[in-house]
């Protein structure tokens, strides 16, 4: 089990009703964290248009997760 801080942005934050939370979960990669928090952020397609960052660095869904990491869940971006 790992202790992970998860942060939600934009629509994900609105769905979750919170900015961040700390979870103790059995997660190997970023995709595991996404799945574990699915009921919070409301999205069912992690490999789709969503993005993830780990400790403020852009990552992929296959990126490994370590104890103490902060995982940022980004819904589809729309800059410009």
């Amino acid at each position: 089990m790992k202790t992970i801080t998860v942060r939600y942005f934009a629509m994900f934050r609105e769905h979750a009703g919170l900015d961040e939370e700390t979870l103790t979960i059995d997660a190997n990669d970023a995709a595991d964290v996404f799945r574990a928090t699915r009921s919070r952020h409301g999205s069912s397609e992690p490999s789709g248009h969503c993005k993830v960052a780990i400790n403020d660095v852009m990552a992929s869904w296959e990126s490994p997760i370590n104890d103490g990491d902060t995982v940022l869940l980004f819904p589809p971006v729309a800059g410009g």
């Binding site: 934009a10 409301g42 589809p76 729309a78």
Partner: protein, 142 residues
């Protein structure tokens, strides 16, 4: 250089930072808030950014542009917060020895900015509803 700001963008001031006696071409792009999107009347927009990653990813994009286009100077500013119709949401400016590279570099930067930076926008419509742009398919509710 990439900047995020909650104040109005002054393109002219930023443009001066790109001056170079060897630059013969300057190209800029601005995204303006328009009053309509996909058939819906838009009243205003709200931009949210996650600044630390928007800055680091933006710097990466500008560095990639510099690798592709020699002697390039490039600068980008993105607004956050509440914007009204006609406001400038994003400005990209580049200078380069020649015209073709200037256009291509400017286009490269804005195209990448739009798909890679953790920035989101919520449209507020004339009918009272609002919605996160590009988020229909990723969410359980509209």
């Amino acid at each position: 250089m990439i900047e995020l700001t909650t104040s109005a963008i002054d393109p002219d001031e930023r443009r001066r930072t790109l001056f170079d006696p060897g630059a013969g071409a300057y190209s800029s792009f601005e995204g303006w808030i328009r009053n309509e999107n996909e058939g819906k009347r838009v009243l205003r927009l709200e931009y949210e950014a996650y600044v630390p990653v928007a800055i680091s990813e933006g710097e990466k994009i500008l560095a990639e542009a510099g690798d592709r286009f020699p002697h390039l100077h490039a600068h980008c500013v993105h607004r956050t917060g509440l914007l009204e119709i006609g406001d400038c949401a994003v400005w990209v400016g580049v200078s380069s020895p020649h015209r073709d590279e200037a256009f291509r570099a400017c286009r490269f930067v804005i195209d990448q900015i739009k798909v890679r930076l953790p920035i989101w926008k919520k449209e507020h419509y004339a009918d009272g509803h609002s919605g996160w742009v590009n988020c229909e398919r990723c969410a359980r509710s509209a």
